[in-house]
Symmetry: C2
Subunit: 315 residues, 2 copies
């Protein structure tokens, strides 16, 4: 018996795997011109929680636990998808921060990319991060096994669908099109529209992280379905907590401008439900995920710890 | 014996296949919010030559001819890649036209997307077109054949690599970083740097179109290598002719602002070599491709007609 590993140690180990793999996830200079390679790297290396990649690895872990396969092998299979998810998440931040979008000048405690590299190069670096995510998925994990090749193609589909018009891009478009100014904070947006927008903008990629990990690790249809529902609940919890932190945390905690959503009159969970009720809703998401996973035959899994981490985070 | 088909009829038939497939290449509303779906569709439906998809189909044709397989089947296999290439080409135009990039207001005879939909929505629509290209490649052609699944994943890699930092995004970054203003038209850019920039910015995706068609149709390594060289020569010819047309054609012919590169002091082939020599260089690319293809055992193939079309086009 190996001794039980604390959540903190588990997160540190997964984060170290992800950081090491991200260091090789982009094409090097001079294959990729330094001017755009360094811009991509600037945003990718700004840190962040690495939630999506860790969630992907934890989902692969959960499937390995259920199937009785080697978790280290499952991590190795899932690592390219984990990195691709972080590349896509990073591109979405770079583009969302642009003057034509949210016009943010600080992100993860550093000036945003368009501030340091100019708008044109920030647009291109975002395009590059998105594209390189798929180049990476096409390249790794290296395997001649037709089952693994088929799963890799499925992962391309899971991630592209979550990032595209039905997912993240669609959600950002809805967010951009919402103009609550002039009708009072959040007044024109009802709770259902708010939830639908966030389910696309933030939830879809978080869900895809869990699903991609489950698929590449060889989960069967019922395991993948259970982990998908779990990912959906985590995505919702994540957004609720994001809104809570926007009210409660300081800009220094967040590494970006706090209170911006409320100031912009954007609809938020605290604005609609109050702080206490919002926090309770986030916790309930994780409790529901626990029920789902137990029903699907998953034993103790780190996935639920990841859910609790999402709810308890302070930035 | 079926009667020989004219190039015009061949192009019309391929273009009809592509247009029909493009009509279903994006997720429909309300799965994809109409506001961004319509923006993507605006640029995709603006027409254009559909050169990259047709080149992809012609390469698949050439491989089918060499292998003695059914060309209609090769077209069906190659059509998703053909559409994905056009989605990516279209996204690149939308982003290149942005105020932070080339700041163009007309494209394919219509106002550019950011003019009609705003900068933020144009950035998002471009992101969506790029992402949906990979969603499409993950979805089609539908097949349970492990060989086809493996080829599809290869095609994802071919296209993503050509579109990413080592290809199109890298080329656009080099173009953006070149600032010939202040040192006279093209003075600071030598011919090698010009060629290297265009090989990435325009050549890489044209080459990928030919390679993707050859790969998905089941071409062996030597066939794919020959078609890759052919694609590289076509890409170079395309750029030379683009520069020639920028000098010779009118804005009405081009559907975009003519003479813009020269006015901006951007380095062009006519500026470096003169018009007559530039035209000769473009024709020589196609002659070289013909030699390559013959040496690789390809008989008469539409690929060379496509090359001649690239050189003889007037817009």
């Amino acid at each position: 018996m190996t001794p039980p590993v604390t959540l903190e140690a588990y997160l540190d180990a997964r984060r170290a795997e992800v950081e090491a793999a991200l260091a090789h996830a982009l094409p090097p200079a001079p294959d990729c011109p330094a001017i755009v390679g360094e811009a991509m790297r600037y945003s990718l290396d700004a840190g962040g929680k690495r939630l999506r990649p860790i969630l992907c690895l934890a989902a692969a872990d959960a499937v390995a636990g259920q199937r009785g396969t080697d978790p280290a092998e499952a991590h190795a299979l899932a690592l390219p998808a984990a990195c691709a998810l972080e590349l896509i998440h990073t591109y979405s931040l770079v583009h969302d921060d642009l003057p034509a979008m949210d016009n943010d000048t600080m992100r993860r405690g550093k000036p945003t990319l368009h501030v340091v590299a100019g708008e044109g190069m920030a647009i291109l670096a975002g395009d590059g991060l998105l594209t390189e995510a798929f180049a990476l998925l096409a390249r790794e994990p290296v395997s001649e096994d037709p089952a693994v090749i088929s799963r890799r193609l499925q992962v391309v589909g899971v991630i592209a669908t979550a990032a595209g018009g039905t997912g993240m891009v669609g959600g950002q478009a809805l967010d951009l099109a919402m103009d609550p100014q002039g009708s009072g904070p959040g007044a024109s947006i009802d709770a259902a529209a708010l939830r639908a927008m966030h389910a696309r903008k933030t939830g879809a990629l978080i869900t895809a992280a869990a699903v991609a990990g489950a698929v590449i690790a060889g989960g069967d249809a019922s395991a993948v379905a259970a982990i998908r529902r779990c990912g959906e609940r985590f995505g919702l919890a994540f957004q609720i907590v994001d809104d809570v932190l926007d009210v409660e945390a300081t800009s220094a905690d967040l590494g970006k401008t706090a209170g911006k959503d409320a100031a912009a009159g954007k609809p938020t969970y605290p604005a609609l439900y109050g702080l206490a009720e919002s926090k309770q809703m986030a916790r309930a998401c994780i409790d529901d995920a626990a029920t789902d996973l137990r029903a699907a035959g998953f034993g103790d899994t780190r996935l639920l710890d990841i859910g609790r981490w999402i709810v308890d985070r302070t930035h």
